[in-house]
């Protein structure tokens, strides 16, 4: 009979779950309706304020009281989103005037649970509340959120920091990530840095100053960021590319940099990589791709040699680069026809593809 009791207990809990689910459906519906209702109230109140030159103190007081509650903040967000579409300039000025309210809310949201706390930096980023205005209490609070193990909280806080545009705080945030060692995808760091709203020049300078303090998990996205940001980092990239003691992932990243930005002093080293019979084939493969940005007779010769490499990716990238350099298929196919099946196969494919693309362009 004890078995039955256990099953009855399970039954009761599951029935409770169904009731919970059904109640949830109603609660969610009611919540949505409440947010809609509050949003209408906010719309009228905010529209009044938008008529004035400055936001009045009474309104700020009202917002301080209301926005500390998450449901009101959600309604406020919905309202601003709507009004922003109608009149972005006015909303931007309105937000700037509310700076003191958001400073106050920073403290209130720091006391909330991590899911609710993460919503606040989302609002800061979305409406660029403190853009160009690095208020230390806000920055400190955001840096605290960067320390959180919760990925979304960390990412929302980082996004808010990028939107504020203070280079120092971004560097500190990266140091925290580095120190904590928790996984934060390289793509998120790179894209985040690219969205930085302050002076990129200052940020870059600071990042290079502390570059060696970071581990690979931060260095790698930083190099990707520099690659997408500008061609002003060639010297530093060259030193990374040529440093045989450096981590190979970073060296690959540096080679990719020179594929994007032509830098003549790098060319000799690229030729060396192409000729070197290193056990790590990636050097040759990435170099084969990079050489497509350096048109010259010698480059063509090197690439033709790479076409016969035993590695498939090296041949693939070399044929791609030759195509980008405008080398005619007929010029080289005879050289390989019958001698190197792999090379001629790859070239034939490139040739077919080129024809296919040009046919498409003609049709269009």
């Amino acid at each position: 009979m004890k078995v039955e009791i256990l099953i009855y207990a399970y039954l009761a809990i599951c029935a409770a779950m169904i009731i919970f689910n059904i109640v949830c459906i109603f609660v969610f519906r009611k919540k949505d309706k409440n947010i809609e209702k509050r949003s209408i109230d906010f719309t009228n109140i905010i529209k009044e304020q938008l008529e004035n030159q400055k936001v009045d103190e009474e309104h700020k007081k009202f917002l301080r009281k209301k926005l500390k509650h998450i449901n009101h903040m959600m309604a406020f967000d919905e309202t601003l989103e709507k009004l922003y579409k109608e009149n972005p300039e006015k909303i931007k000025n309105y937000i700037v005037d509310l700076s003191s309210v958001f400073v106050f809310l920073t403290f209130k949201y720091s006391e909330k649970n991590v899911i609710q706390a993460a919503y606040f930096p989302y609002i800061i980023k979305k409406y660029e509340v403190f853009k160009g205005d690095s208020i230390s209490v806000v920055i400190d609070q955001l840096l605290e959120l960067v320390k959180e193990p919760n990925l979304y909280c960390r990412e929302n806080a980082l996004q808010a920091l990028y939107s504020i545009g203070d280079a120092n705080s971004v560097v500190v945030a990266l140091k925290i990530l580095n120190q904590k060692g928790c996984f934060h995808h390289a793509k998120m760091i790179t894209d985040g840095l690219l969205s930085f709203s302050g002076s990129k020049e200052t940020l870059n300078k600071k990042l290079w100053t502390v570059f060696d303090e970071f581990g690979i998990s931060i260095k790698k996205p930083l190099l990707d960021y520099f690659r997408f940001e500008s061609g002003n980092h060639s010297e530093k990239m060259l030193s990374i590319m040529t440093d045989s003691e450096e981590n190979q992932e970073l060296r690959f990243s540096a080679i990719r940099y020179f594929a994007k930005y032509r830098y003549t002093p790098a060319l000799t080293f690229l030729y060396d990589f192409a000729k070197e019979d290193s056990a790590i084939w990636e050097y040759k493969a990435i170099t084969a791709s990079a050489l497509g940005s350096y048109p010259s007779k010698k480059t063509e010769e090197v690439l033709k040699e790479l076409l016969c490499d035993r590695n498939w990716y090296v041949r693939y990238n070399a044929s791609d680069s030759l195509e980008r350099l405008g080398v005619e298929y007929e010029e080289i196919i005879d050289v390989f026809e019958g001698k190197d099946r792999y090379a001629s196969e790859m070239l034939r494919y490139r040739f077919d593809r080129k024809k296919l693309k040009s046919k498409e362009v003609t049709t269009v």
Binding site: I13, I25, F28, K359, E360
Partner: protein
């Protein structure tokens, strides 16, 4: 009349069998209970997080190759590729592998997408049948490739797709399925959130009676067909429940062949899809567990609860039986091939929880259930059965199963913002009872007969009748 001694022997045996069944059912009920409670709360938490923007708000584009193996799919293949080209994602390619179809699968694609022949070398990293021709199209939003190869089965086609695709992650899917518009951005999310991910499973939902427009659900209702309708309930229970629970300890052993994402280099290193098994999807995931663990490679298999693929559920009992037999054989072959994982401390919870669960409650369950029925008959013959207690036990079991199914159904429906009508809610309540008490037993019988004539069907694609999904 039998002697007292014989009667005592039978009674003792039946007593032991009783104890076994009590433990077996407690184990199963506890597992389902845990799975549904955890799955349901996980979905609730996820919804809360999304409301409060605790999610990755930017679109991060991880390059993906979508591999569509096709065999005699002339009815659905063009529609499938069209839906793939309409996905809201920026960085992907589509590779269709025609496994030597006897119908006009390739020609339909060539005509519909103005594809051109190309002499493309394929890098053979995994063994597969040779290609007959390759066509490409550059006029679409993303690169589209068609490879026709000699017939070799689904696993062989997938291996060809892996060889030919160019991106570091690939998605395998069925040629009769439709991906929801945001499914790619949803399935790559786990890659952003956690490191060392080698595979991510998506959610497969029956598309019978669902209307889609550019991958968006326009109208959702339970299928008219009772069999398909019961499968909706079954899918919800299994996807919501067990998969979320297994996900908690990296213990997922199944990623549906209809929608899963894999890291290409790890799959290649592990040897790709196995041609010799029928359940190549399960076999691959089990193989990845084994390969990564034995080679001490840190890895993770995840489940994306919001990445949705709409697929056809069989509407005929014959087709359903065929499908389930195939799945069961695939399960057996995968488990047998990787039996080293059973009760092996190296594999931790994957061995002692997931693998053991699949052995006891999936692979052996049809036999155990049939054995249970035989035992009841035997007990009845010897007048050793307490009929009121047996009926009560059945009733409790049925109600418990129904409640679990409904918990999964309602949790899933309300947490992914699908509106269901009162009529459908009522239908679900009514049909879940039949699903538990009838379909389940029929399927147990079908699965127990799966081994008859399996050698003959080894490389068979296991066809079921194809219909177009309702797309506007």
């Amino acid at each position: 009349m039998i002697s007292d001694d014989a009667f005592m022997i039978v009674k003792t045996i039946l007593d032991y069998i009783n104890v076994f069944f009590v433990i077996y059912l407690i184990g199963y009920s506890s597992f389902l209970f845990l799975a549904v409670v955890i799955g349901s709360s996980e979905l609730y938490k996820k919804r809360q997080q999304e409301k409060l923007k605790n999610t990755l708000l930017q679109n991060y584009y991880v390059p993906i190759s979508i591999i569509v193996p096709a065999y005699n799919e002339e009815v659905t293949v063009v529609q499938t590729v069209k839906s793939l080209l309409a996905l809201e994602y920026n960085l992907y390619e589509v590779v269709v592998v025609d496994d030597g179809s006897k119908d006009r699968t390739s020609q339909k694609l060539i005509d519909a997408f103005d594809m051109q022949p190309i002499r493309r070398p394929v890098h053979r990293k995994i063994g597969c049948q040779p290609e007959e021709f390759v066509y490409e199209s550059v006029s679409e939003k993303v690169p589209l490739t068609l490879i026709r190869k000699k017939n070799g089965g689904k696993a062989d086609s997938l291996n060809m797709g892996i060889n030919a695709c160019k991106y570091p992650y690939f998605i395998c899917m069925d040629a009769d399925s439709v991906l929801q518009y945001d499914s790619l951005s949803k399935i790559v999310r786990p890659l952003m959130e956690q490191e060392n991910i080698v595979a991510v499973g998506g959610v497969v939902r029956p598309a019978n009676s669902v209307t889609l427009d550019h991958g968006r659900v326009l109208d959702y209702q339970l299928p008219q067909n009772i069999l398909a309708c019961m499968q909706v309930l079954e899918y919800d229970r299994s996807f919501l429940a067990s998969r979320i629970l297994f996900d908690k300890f990296n213990g997922s052993l199944i990623i549906s062949g209809a929608f899963g994402l894999f890291k290409k280099d790890v799959v290649i290193a592990a040897g790709g899809y196995d041609h010799s098994t029928m359940g190549e999807d399960m076999e691959l995931v089990v193989k990845l567990h084994e390969y990564c663990t034995l080679n001490e490679i840190p890895y993770c298999v995840k489940y994306a609860t919001d990445a949705i693929c709409w697929s056809q559920a069989p509407e005929k009992l014959k087709d359903l039986c065929k499908q389930r037999k195939r799945w069961h054989l695939g399960l057996f072959q995968s488990m047998w091939k990787h039996k080293v994982m059973l009760f092996n401390a190296k594999f931790g919870a994957v061995s002692f929880v997931s693998f053991f669960y699949f052995l006891l409650y999936e692979l052996l369950s049809p036999f155990i259930e049939i054995f249970g029925v035989i035992t009841m008959l035997l007990a009845f013959v010897f007048d050793l059965i307490n009929i009121p207690f047996m009926l009560l036990f059945f009733a409790i079991y049925a109600v418990f199963g129904c409640i679990l199914t409904l918990t999964a159904f309602f949790a899933r429906t309300h947490t992914i913002d699908l509106k269901i009508s009162a009529k459908d809610a009522f239908k679900a309540i009514l049909l879940c009872f039949f699903e538990i008490t009838c379909l389940r037993f029929v399927m147990a019988f079908v699965r127990s007969t799966a081994f008859f004539g399996y050698k003959k069907k080894r490389l068979n694609w296991g066809r079921i009748e194809r219909k177009k999904i309702n797309i506007k």
